[in-house]
């Protein structure tokens, strides 16, 4: 694999600035070539970029403040229904807040949740997985048994109980979700490290005098990233779903935060009276998660050499 040689060179100190830049660009081009083959992935990427833009520009594009309650505009239907007003395109909720504006601000929360959860889970997971896969022996046994224990619980139940311990709220929900997700990274990293550790380029680096830390992080880790990137994309969407589920159960973000799951929880009692307060937050969750999963599939196709050939 081209990636191996590159990393060996880096480890032994043979690198020159220019060739690495070239290989990096070539690899990126190759990645984009395969990613582009998957039409769904490109659509997913486009939708995701739009959602990111919406989240970043929320204060500019939202027609109202997400928390402003408009008297005399309770449970207004969307504009195309009888009684809808252009002022509130997607209607208003039970206390007269503009649903569209709340959804726009909600995008910020969902993306923030995804980024924080994945970063936490990836960092801890990779570190622990590296330790287990590199040192094996007792460290490995202890780590893997601990991961088995976490995986023995349904993730949402464990997250729910953790939030019960830590106290309901968005930050605690994110910590809980990151904790239940990190065993997947530990397992993936460990498996990849174990596969790479016996290869010649690692031995070469060791013979050249590289220490454990350098071997772990600079020699082996860069060659284990492909499955981790795919997993990160998939767990980004799971994080959004789980956080919304916790919000829906009343254990995630607390009202009046315009988090999509929390919005659904508040809307529950109106389901048979005002379909729009329930429908739109769910569509927002579904579209975001779907876009990320489409991207994840594309990433897998582009990064997994086994599937590339088929």
């Amino acid at each position: 694999m081209a990636t191996n040689t590159k990393s060996t060179d880096a480890a032994i100190g043979l690198e020159g600035g220019a060739p690495i830049a070239v290989t990096r660009r070539a690899r990126l081009a190759e990645f984009w070539y395969y990613f582009r083959q998957n039409r769904g992935a490109v659509i997913g990427l486009a939708v995701f970029v739009v959602i990111v833009a919406i989240a970043v520009l929320a204060p500019v594009i939202a027609p109202h403040s997400p928390s402003m309650q408009n008297r005399g505009a309770f449970l207004l239907p969307p504009v195309w229904e009888d009684g809808g007003r252009w002022e509130f395109v997607l209607g208003t909720d039970a206390v007269g807040r503009d649903i569209l504006s709340r959804l726009i601000y909600g995008a910020r929360f969902s993306l923030f949740i995804g980024v924080v959860v994945v970063s936490l889970a990836v960092t801890v997971g990779i570190f622990v997985g590296l330790l287990a896969g590199y040192f094996r022996g007792a460290v490995d046994t202890v780590v893997m048994r601990m991961m088995d224990i976490i995986l023995a619980f349904p993730s949402l139940l464990l997250a729910l109980v953790l939030v019960a311990i830590l106290g309901p709220g968005l930050v605690n929900a994110m910590i809980a979700i990151a904790l239940v997700q990190q065993p997947h990274y530990v397992r993936l990293t460990r498996a990849a490290v174990m596969a790479e550790k016996g290869r010649d380029y690692v031995t070469a680096a060791r013979v050249a005098g590289a220490g454990n830390l350098r071997l772990m992080f600079k020699t082996i880790l860069p060659n284990c990233t492909a499955p981790l990137i795919v997993q990160a994309a998939l767990s980004f969407s799971t994080a959004i779903l789980d956080a919304a589920a916790l919000g829906f159960l009343g254990m995630g973000a607390q009202p009046p935060t315009p988090e999509w799951g929390t919005m659904l929880a508040e809307a529950r009692e109106f389901i048979l009276r005002a379909w729009w307060v329930v429908t739109f937050p769910g569509i927002a969750i579904l579209v975001t998660v779907l876009a990320i999963n489409l991207m994840g599939d594309g990433l897998r196709d582009a990064l997994d050499p086994k599937l590339k050939r088929s």
């Binding site: 088995d148 619980f153 349904p154 659904l264």
Partner: protein, 334 residues
């Protein structure tokens, strides 16, 4: 085979001990004093506090407390609910059939639709049918099921009025539980319309709970099938002149199903996590709703016991799947 079974069982022991430590620590990690939680807002005298502390064993060293806890567990004592004062194990067994019935129907639905649909997608790879199936599977996989449930309620209960909104059976019917499974009990009761009522209550929750496993199984079947269809023995079977139906249905499917079995087994955790949401939406009186309610009522004895019991179920099912996998795939055993 026995050695294989034994080694898997042996692996389970440390995990179970770990899980019990998690459940044991849970009550002790909670902010606040578990005994003061018991007292609620009334508070209690210092004397009573000391007395409770020694009867509940909180004054002893943690290690001793843990071993006592483990001993109680081995004798089937999973604690007593703070709210209902009933043993947790008893409550669990009263509610578990409802979850089992729902999960069973959901997984059957997911397999019955997911496997053929995944096969179809693989056989017609690249066609519009394949794209439609895989597109729908990805939507199902991305579905926030708590929202999906609410949508179905709006459509089928609100607009069309076809299905009831919540519960397991209409209040018009009452019969003592025999098996705990409403479909069977309603038939046994012999009351007119009882079975129909039970079935109509079950439809929406089943669809909601089956959504994600269905999507996962369809995707997994497709990719397993694609892999197998490229194998030499499939080519040989085709070259022999066997009809495609036989090649796909017999030669390919059998081997493609091996990874699918594992996937189905792994769905048990997904089902129990999904049951938490599904049961909450449909007020389905199972263990998922029980756990959520207990978290809200701060009935931590139930949460503790329930955690352990649910983890136990998942571990046992995973063991069964492992063993089944070893049975159908001898390579794994060694």
């Amino acid at each position: 085979m026995f050695r294989f079974l034994f080694s898997r069982l042996a692996l389970l022991i440390p995990t179970f001990i770990g899980v019990s430590i998690v459940a044991f620590s849970f009550i002790r990690l909670l902010p606040g004093d578990p005994i003061m939680l018991l007292a609620g807002e009334r508070g209690m005298t210092e004397e009573r506090y000391q007395q409770l502390q020694s009867t509940m064993g909180f004054d002893r060293p943690l290690v001793v407390q843990y071993f006592n806890y483990l001993l109680d567990l081995l004798q089937g004592d999973f604690g007593t609910s703070i709210v209902t004062k009933r043993p947790v194990l008893q409550e669990f067994f009263t509610l578990f059939p409802a979850t089992l019935e729902l999960s069973f129907c959901a997984i059957v639905l997911a397999v019955v639709i997911g496997v053929p649909v995944g096969m179809l997608a693989a056989v017609r790879r690249g066609s519009w049918l394949d794209q439609t199936i895989m597109g729908s599977a990805l939507v199902g996989y991305s579905m926030p099921i708590f929202w999906w449930g609410l949508l179905l309620i709006i459509l089928f209960s609100g607009v069309l009025g076809w299905t009831p909104v919540s519960g397991r059976i209409s209040l018009l019917y009452y019969f003592p539980p025999v098996t705990g499974f409403m479909l069977i009990d309603s038939l046994l009761s012999g009351q007119d319309g009882a079975f129909k009522s039970a079935a109509s209550h079950l439809i929406l929750p089943t669809v909601v709970l089956a959504t994600i496993p269905l999507a996962v199984i369809a995707r997994q079947t497709r990719s397993a099938m694609l892999e197998v269809l490229g194998e030499d023995y499939v080519r040989t079977a085709r070259a022999k002149g066997l009809p495609p139906r036989r090649v796909i249905g017999l030669h390919a499917l059998r081997n493609a199903l091996i990874p699918v079995i594992t996937t189905i087994g792994l769905q048990v955790g997904v089902l129990l996590a999904g049951a938490i949401l599904t049961e909450t939406i449909f007020s389905w009186p199972g263990i998922g709703k029980w756990m959520v309610d207990s978290v809200f009522k701060r009935d931590y004895a139930v949460v503790q016991g329930g955690l352990l019991l649910i983890a136990g179920i998942i571990m046992i099912v995973n063991l069964i799947v492992d063993v089944l996998y070893g049975l159908v795939n001898p390579r794994i055993r060694h």
